[in-house]
Every structure is written in C-alpha cells, then in structure tokens.
C-alpha cells in the first residue's frame, strides 16, 4: 500500500511539476542561455553514443534478419525490416534509454545535489520557482533535441544495416536494393511515429528525473539513491509508455 501510494505520489508530483513548468513557458526566451546549455548537454554531447549504438543496432538487426530469413528466401526484405524497426521502435526507444542513462542521471544528480545543499530552497526563498529555472529549460531542450537524436539514430541504423547487408557473405544485398525495398515499404508516417514516440519518451524521462531530483531529501547518500531510482523509473516508464503510445499511433 505504501509503495502504491509512493507511485501515485510520484505520478502526481511529476504531473504538477510539468504543469508548473508549462505555466512558465513564456519566460523561456529570457532563459535562452540555460536553454542552449541544456540543448548542448541533451543533444550535442549525446550524439556520439547515439550514433555508435544505433549503427550497431541496425547492423545486428540486419545480421539477425538475414540469418533468419535465409531459410525462406525473404532476404530482399531486410531493408524494409531494418528501416521499419529502427524508425518505429528501436530508434526512439534506444534514444530514450540513452537519454535516461546519460542525461537523466545527470539531471537527477544535479538537482538532488542542489536540493540537498539547499540551493533549491534558496531559489524559492528568492521567489525563483525551480520549475521555471531548473525544469523548463531542460524540458524545452528535450523537446527540441530528442527528435533530432531520433532521426540521426534512424538514419545511422539504416546505414549500419545496409553495410552489414552488403558485406555479410550469406546476405550480400547491394545498398541500392536495400534502400529500394526500404523506400518501397516505408512511409514518412513511420518515421514521424518514431519521432513522436521519442518526443514523448524524452519529455517523460526529463520530467521524471527532474521530479526525483527535486524531491530528494536527506544527505549526500540520497543523491546516489535518487539517481538510481530516476534511471530505473525512467526505463520502466519508457517501456510502459512505448506500448501505449505504439497502440495509439498504429
């Protein structure tokens, strides 16, 4: 019961934080520097790991698909399989998980540290709402940067699949044929669905991590616990949201 209450309390406080941050949306132009800084952290510095992971996910996907499909001669459809899988599912989910692991943990650690060191209290004392100064720039940065990361992940994953499809002996599909099939069976709507999912995941991860960070209580030990909790809750949230968002978008 206590855990259920805790979960419901988490949902409620996260929603409240989101609404409070939205209410300060008009102040965003004045927080341009913070917004740019968060964009840099969320987008630019996350790009290398997103590119590396998406490349190898696309490559492994092509490899596994080729291995499975060679038994019934459907290897020419690898392009569409990798393309659809990356665009509709793996790209957004992978970006969201990396965001939770790399950015979300950092956000929680930073905000928890500020909370533990009473910097958040100091802001409130100065009538500076944390939702405006600490949460809104991060939410806005996630809103702008996560789709960019997702589209890069999609494209890099497609190319990874194309390279594996060409240079794997038992697949040997030329990139022209690979991308021809990909284009034939894919619509931009598939990519858009992925971007929408990534957007929802990104906002959810940043919100959860901000909320857990701002609700940290106790000493420095609680900072680590909050980070762990933020990452775990973010991962669960991503997978739960993934099902429902996919269900809505299909």
């Amino acid at each position: 019961m206590k855990q259920l209450t805790s979960i419901l309390e988490g949902f409620g406080s996260t929603l409240q934080l989101f609404l409070r941050a939205l209410s300060y949306a008009g102040t965003l132009p004045r927080q341009r520097a913070r917004f740019i800084e968060q964009c840099y952290l969320i987008g630019y510095t996350t790009l290398p790991i997103v590119a590396i992971l998406s490349f190898f996910i696309g490559a492994v996907l092509a490899l596994q698909a080729g291995y499975s499909m060679q038994n019934f001669g459907a290897m020419q459809f690898i392009g569409s399989l990798v393309g659809l899988s990356m665009a509709r599912e793996l790209g957004p989910v992978m970006v969201a998980i990396l965001l939770a692991g790399r950015v979300g943990s950092a956000i929680t650690a930073e905000l928890a540290s500020m909370k533990v060191n009473q910097e958040v209290d100091a802001l409130e004392t100065m009538n500076i709402p944390p939702a405006r100064m600490l949460v809104l720039p991060r939410l806005a940065a996630a809103l702008v940067m996560v789709p960019v990361l997702a589209i890069i992940a999609d494209l890099v994953g497609w190319f990874g699949g194309a390279i594996v499809a060409k240079y794997t002996s038992f697949i040997s599909i030329e990139p022209e044929a690979y991308f021809s099939v990909l284009r034939r069976y894919m619509k931009f709507q598939d990519v858009m669905n992925g971007l929408i999912k990534a957007e929802i995941f990104g906002l959810g991860v940043v919100l959860v991590c901000c909320n857990i960070g701002l609700n940290t209580r106790g000493g420095p030990r609680e900072i680590g616990a909050s980070v762990t909790r933020a990452v775990v809750v973010s991962l669960i949230l991503i997978l739960v949201l993934d099902y429902f968002v996919t269900k809505v978008l299909i």
Partner: protein, 330 residues
C-alpha cells in the same frame, strides 16, 4: 567553452536534425528533390488486388518503372505508372497485374507490343487485361474440390449402393453367386482349351507350338520382302523413266515435251489425212486406181487381147509375131 561556441554547436546540431528530417521526408514521400524521372501512364483495372504504391512495373521481366500512385476513378481503379525515361511502351502493349509471390507482392507486367506500333505519350492510358489472382485460383480450387467430392460420392454410391438398390459390388456378387455353376463350367472349358493349346493340339495349338509353321511364316515374310524389293526397283525404274520423259530425253520424252516434234507430227497427221481424203475421193492416180473401174476394165480387155495375140503367135510363127501383137494391141 564559451557561450557563443555552445550556441553555434547547438544551432548546427538542430539544423542537422532538420535537414535529416527533410531528407527522410523527401526520400520516403516522393518529394521533389529525389523525385524519379520518367513519364506517366495510366492503367485502369477492375481491381488492383494487392498492387500498391512503389511496386514494380516490368516489361518482359525487366523493371522499367514503379507504381506512382493508385486511385479510384469512377467505377474502376487506376494505377499511375511511372515509366523510366528512354523506355518506350508500344501503343498496342497490354498491362496486367501479376503476382510476384504468395505473400501478397504484385507488380504490373507490360508486354512488348508490336514493333511497328508507336510509343505511348506521357499521361496516355495503356490497355489492360485481367489475370487471375490467388484468390480466384483458390476459389476455383475450392469448386474443383467440391466437384471431386461429388464425383467420389457418386462413385461410392455406384460401388456400394445408395440404399435403394444394391451397388456395383453387390450386383457383381449376386451375378457371380447366381451363375456359379456356369462360371465353373466356363473355367473348366477354358482350362481344357489351354491344356490343348499347351500340348499343341488343334490349329491354334500347332500355330503356337509347331516351329515349322514359324519357319514357313518367316519364309513367307522373306518372299514378301523380296517382292517388295522388286516392286521398289520397278517403281524406281519407272520413276527414272518418268524423270527422263519429263526432262525430254528419249523418243517418248521428245514426243511429249519437244514442241517442234509435236508440230511435225501434227503436220504429218494432217498430210496423211489429206492424202487419205484424196484417195477416198478418187483424186490423183492412186485414187483413180482405187476408185475408177474403167482402168480395171481397160486392163482386163488388154489382157484378153494379149492372150489372144499369144495364141495367134503360136499359130503364125515368130516372124509375124510382132505384127500380130501390135495388131492385137492396137
């Protein structure tokens, strides 16, 4: 890192994202920058089946374009075909929807048409024909299965009976049971006949068992072969003669095929006819000789006179013989 650098990197990163999104949109949605070149043809069908945008258009198995779009147009479905530039589709070419696999992939197949026909222009409508799809084939197979089922039921009823009368097997059983004595007798007779045949008794037995009959038969066949060989030679000779005649060699050949000889023969026959006509009419010396009795009578009188003169010569002696003859004659 100062703020300016950070802002520039974030801006670049955001622009990169926008550019990639735009490229993806253009690639997947057939935007203008990656728009394939070529010209459009319209193919109308009663049903497009599983045909969809992006499927192949092939001519004689070679891909020459793709399906640009599919749409409903009144009471029919239309597929807009994008044909690669440089590929000419004859005006009498026919398009049909062909199934590429059992998993629902189709393509439009266009035949070559005639070489003399002109090329279809951009936006022209190509002739189409309907081909059976997997659903109609399965429907036909289902109907065939029902017919087979009915036929097998009929066979079953025929063999086993339909409840009213006995089936074929029951009737056969009754027939054999009712006629068992006759069948037994017939089998006994058959056994006797085969025994006799085996022993070489009777004409048929000898024919089967006597080797001399075989030898005679072989000799007869040899004679027939020999006769056939001779006949063949005769026919060959006749063919040679006919060939010679046809080539105008020999008397017969000359007679049949030489125009000059034929003319000569015709003239000769005409001459003979003329002579015979004259003879019949008593014209000329020979005709008069044949037809005029006067000469005969004159000759008879002369002979009589000569006879008398000879008689007188015997009486008067040789001195006056000449005078007597002359007197008698003149």
């Amino acid at each position: 890192m100062n703020n300016a650098q950070q802002t520039a990197r974030v801006g670049l990163f955001f622009l990169l994202g926008l550019a990639l999104t735009w490229v993806t949109f253009e690639t997947l949605s057939g935007g203008t920058i990656f728009k394939e070149k070529g010209y459009m043809l319209i193919a109308g069908f009663e049903s497009l089946k599983e045909l969809k945008q992006g499927d192949d258009v092939r001519m004689a198995g070679v891909k020459i374009g793709t399906i640009e779009t599919t749409r409903l147009a009144g009471r029919r479905a239309e597929a807009v075909l994008r044909i690669d530039p440089g590929v000419k589709v004859a005006t009498d070419a026919t398009a049909s929807i062909v199934m590429a696999g059992l998993i629902g992939t189709n393509y439009v197949s266009i035949d070559l048409g005639s070489a003399s026909a002109g090329a279809l222009a951009d936006g022209a409508e190509i002739r189409t024909k309907v081909t059976p799809d997997i659903n109609s084939i399965m429907t036909d197979l289902g109907n065939l299965g029902q017919k087979l089922d009915g036929a097998l039921s009929s066979f079953g009823s025929a063999f086993n009976g339909d409840g009213k009368g006995g089936g074929l097997f029951q009737k056969l059983d009754k027939l054999v049971t009712d006629n068992s004595d006759r069948v037994s007798t017939t089998m006994t007779n058959l056994q006797e006949i085969t025994t006799k045949l085996n022993k070489g008794e009777g004409t048929l037995g000898k024919l089967i068992n006597d080797p001399s009959l075989h030898d005679e038969l072989v000799a007869a066949v040899d004679e027939i072969k020999s006769a056939a060989t001779q006949a063949k030679g005769f026919v060959s000779d006749a063919q040679g003669i006919i060939a010679q005649v046809k080539s105008g060699q020999g008397a017969l050949g000359t007679l049949v095929y030489d125009e000059a000889t034929a003319n000569n023969l015709r003239v000769t026959v005409a001459n003979i006819r003329s002579v015979s006509d004259k003879l019949a009419k008593g014209e000329g010396t020979l005709g008069k000789l044949i037809n005029d009795d006067t000469l005969y009578n004159t000759a008879q009188n002369t002979l009589k006179k000569a006879d008398r003169a000879i008689d007188g010569l015997g009486d008067s002696g040789p001195i006056t013989a000449v005078g007597i003859v002359a007197k008698s004659l003149f």
